[in-house]
Amino acid sequence: MRLALSIATDALAYGMVLFIISIGLSIMMGLMRVVNLAHGAFAMVGGYLASYAIRDLHVHYSVAILLAVLGTIIVSIPFELLLYRRIYRKSDPLIQVLMTIGITFFIIGVVNFIFGPSLKTIPLPALLSGPLDIGFRSVPTHRLFVIACGVVTALSLWWLIEKTEFGIKLRASVDHSGMADALGIRTEIIYAATFALAIGLGAFGGVVGAEILPIEPFYALRYMVTFLVVVSVGGAGSIMGALSASLLLGLADTTGKYLAPEFGEFFFYLTVIVIVFLFPHGLFGRAHA
C-alpha cells in the first residue's frame, strides 16, 4: 500500500513537471509548427537562474521563480528574433530539428562555461521541504507543491485560451493564419507573445521540477526526447493532450523504474511506439493542413 502511494505521488509529481514544461512546447508546436528541441534547454536555463538567485543573491524561493521566468524569457528574445522567426510554419521538420539541436548544444556549452559542470540544487524554503501529513500517510511536501502547480497551470492556461481575447486571437491564428492576418490580427505579435509564454512555462517547470529533474548542463540533452515525446503522444496544441500524455507517460516511466528497473526505458518507448502508431497525431491532436 505504501509502495502504491509512493509510486502514485512520484508519478503524479513527475507527470506534472513534464506537463508544466511540455505544455509550452505543445503550444509552440501547435501554433508556430516549430519542433523546438531546445525547449528543455530553456527550462534548464530557468533552473540555473533560480539556483543562482537563491544561492548567490539570497532571495526567497518565490522571488527566484519570478526572476528565473523573466530572465529566461529575456534570454530567449535574441533567439526568437534572429532564429526562430526563420522557421515558423516552415513544414520541413528536419531543418527545425537541426536548428534547435544546434541551439541546444550552444546553450549547453555556454551554461557550462558560466556555471560549471556540476549539478545545481535549488534549495527549497522551509515551508516546502519535509513531509506533510495528509491524514493517513506522510507525503513529501514538495511533491504536493509540484502537483498543485501543475493543476494551477492547467486551469490558468485553459482560462487564458478559452476565455480571454488573447486566447481567441491565438486560436484564430492557429486555425487560419491567413484569415487572421486579413482580419488585422497581428500574428507576429501573437507569435512573439506565445513564444514568451511557452518559454516562461518551460522555465517555471524547470525551477519547480528541479528536485525531480536535476539541473546540470546535460539536462537539455537528457530530456530533449522526453518533452518531444510527451507532446507528440498528447497531440500538439492541446492542453488535455499534454496533460494526459504527461501523466500517462509519467506513470509508465515511474512504475517501470520501481518495479523493473533493469528494463530502463524499454517499456516507456514501447508505449510511445504503440501510441504513435495508433494515433499519429497524438491522442488529442488533429492532422495539420
Partner: protein, 332 residues
C-alpha cells in the same frame, strides 16, 4: 507512329563507370594521405571510416528517400554488438563477422523501416527516436549478452584472409576498412543511379506523384531501409573488430544526432556529402573536443545554426554548383 519525330535530345557523353571509378580513386587517394602522413593516428582514422559507413547509410534514407530520422545509430550499434558477441563466442574470421554485421544491420533496418516509413513529418521523427531508444534500452537490459553499461570487450578477430593480423597500430584494420569503403561506395554509387535509386529520389520529391505512376511507395522505402541497415552494419562490424569494444554509445541518441549533423554538414543526397561531412566533422572533433568537450558543444551548436541559416544544402553544394557549371560550359 504518325511521323518520324525529329529527335533533338542533347547528346550526353558518358563513360561507363566513370563516376564510380573517380570516387574509388578519390577515396584511395585520401586513404593514402592518411596512411603516409599520419601513421600514428590509424586507429582514429579507422574509427572515422567506421562512422563514415553510418553516415552513408543515413544518406540513403534521408538524402535519397527524404526520411528524417534521429534513431539511425540503432542499425549501426546492433550490428556492432552482433559482430562483437559472435566474435567473443568463437567466430573469429573477419569476413564472417562482417557478414554477421551486414545481416544484423539489415534486419534492424528492415524492422525500423517498417515502423518509420509508415508516416511522414513529425510522427515519423518521433517514431525514429523511439525505435532508436528502444534498441538502446534493449542493449542495456540484455546485460548478459551485451555487457550492459560496461560494454562488450575482448573482441579479438582473427586474421584477414588468414594472413593479415589485426595489429596494435591498426594497420590491418585501416587498410581492411579502406578497401571495404571503396567497394561499398562504388556499389552505392551504382545503386543511387539505378532505377530503384531514381525512384526513391522521386518518392522523396513527391510521393503522391509516385503513387500516381503506379508505385507502391511504402515497400520500396522499407527495402531502402534494409539496404541502409546493411551498410550501417558494415560500419558497425568493422568498428567492433578494429576497436575491440562495443559500448552503449554506439546505439545512443547522441550518436544518431551526431551522424545527422555530419550528413547535413557535408550535404545530403550526394553520397559525397556524407563522406565529406564524416571526414570534416570527425577531424575537427578529434582536435577540438580533446581540448575542451564543452567548447566543442558550443562550436557544434553554432555550426548547426550556421548551416541551417547559410548553407542548408551542406558544404558540398557550392562544389557541386561549380562542377555543374563547368560541365554545362563544356557541353554547349
Amino acid at each position: 507512329m504518325t511521323d518520324i519525330a525529329l529527335n533533338r535530345v542533347p547528346h550526353r557523353r558518358s563513360i561507363a563507370f566513370a563516376q564510380e571509378g573517380l570516387g574509388a580513386l578519390a577515396i584511395v587517394a585520401l586513404g593514402a594521405v592518411g596512411w603516409f602522413l599520419f601513421p600514428d593516428d590509424l586507429a582514429f582514422l579507422t574509427r572515422l571510416i567506421g562512422l563514415a559507413f553510418l553516415v552513408l547509410s543515413l544518406d540513403l534514407v534521408t538524402g535519397y528517400c527524404g526520411i528524417a530520422t534521429l534513431g539511425h545509430a540503432a542499425l549501426f550499434g546492433a550490428a556492432a554488438y552482433a559482430a562483437g558477441i559472435a566474435c567473443v563466442r568463437g567466430i573469429t574470421d573477419p569476413l564472417a563477422l562482417l557478414g554477421i554485421g551486414i545481416v544484423a544491420g539489415a534486419l534492424v533496418g528492415l524492422i525500423s523501416g517498417a515502423l518509420i516509413a509508415r508516416f511522414r513529418g513529425l510522427p515519423q521523427l518521433v517514431l525514429s527516436i523511439a525505435v532508436g531508444q528502444l534498441v538502446a534500452a534493449l542493449a542495456n537490459k540484455l546485460q548478459w549478452l551485451t555487457g550492459g553499461s560496461d560494454g562488450l570487450s575482448g573482441i579479438a578477430p582473427g586474421k584477414v584472409f588468414g594472413i593479415f593480423n589485426f595489429d596494435m597500430y591498426s594497420r590491418t584494420a585501416f587498410l581492411f576498412s579502406l578497401a571495404i569503403l571503396v567497394v561499398v561506395f562504388v556499389a552505392l554509387s551504382r545503386l543511387v543511379r539505378s532505377p530503384f535509386g531514381l525512384m526513391c529520389r522521386g518518392i522523396k520529391d513527391d510521393d503522391l506523384r509516385a503513387r500516381m505512376i503506379g508505385v507502391a511507395v511504402y515497400p520500396r522505402l522499407v527495402v531502402m531501409y534494409g539496404v541502409s541497415g546493411a551498410v550501417a552494419g558494415v560500419g558497425g562490424a568493422l568498428t567492433a573488430m578494429s576497436t575491440g569494444v562495443v559500448g552503449l554509445d554506439s546505439v545512443s541518441f547522441e550518436r544518431s544526432a551526431e551522424v545527422l549533423v555530419m550528413l547535413v554538414l557535408g550535404g545530403a543526397g550526394h553520397l559525397w556529402g556524407a563522406l565529406a561531412g564524416a571526414l570534416i566533422f570527425q577531424i575537427f572533433e578529434h582536435i577540438v573536443a580533446a581540448a575542451n568537450p564543452f567548447h566543442w558543444m558550443t562550436l557544434v551548436g553554432l555550426l548547426l545554426i550556421g548551416i541551417v541559416v547559410f548553407a542548408p544544402k551542406g558544404l558540398i553544394e557550392p562544389v557541386l554548383t561549380l562542377a555543374h557549371r563547368l560541365r554545362k560550359g563544356r557541353a554547349s
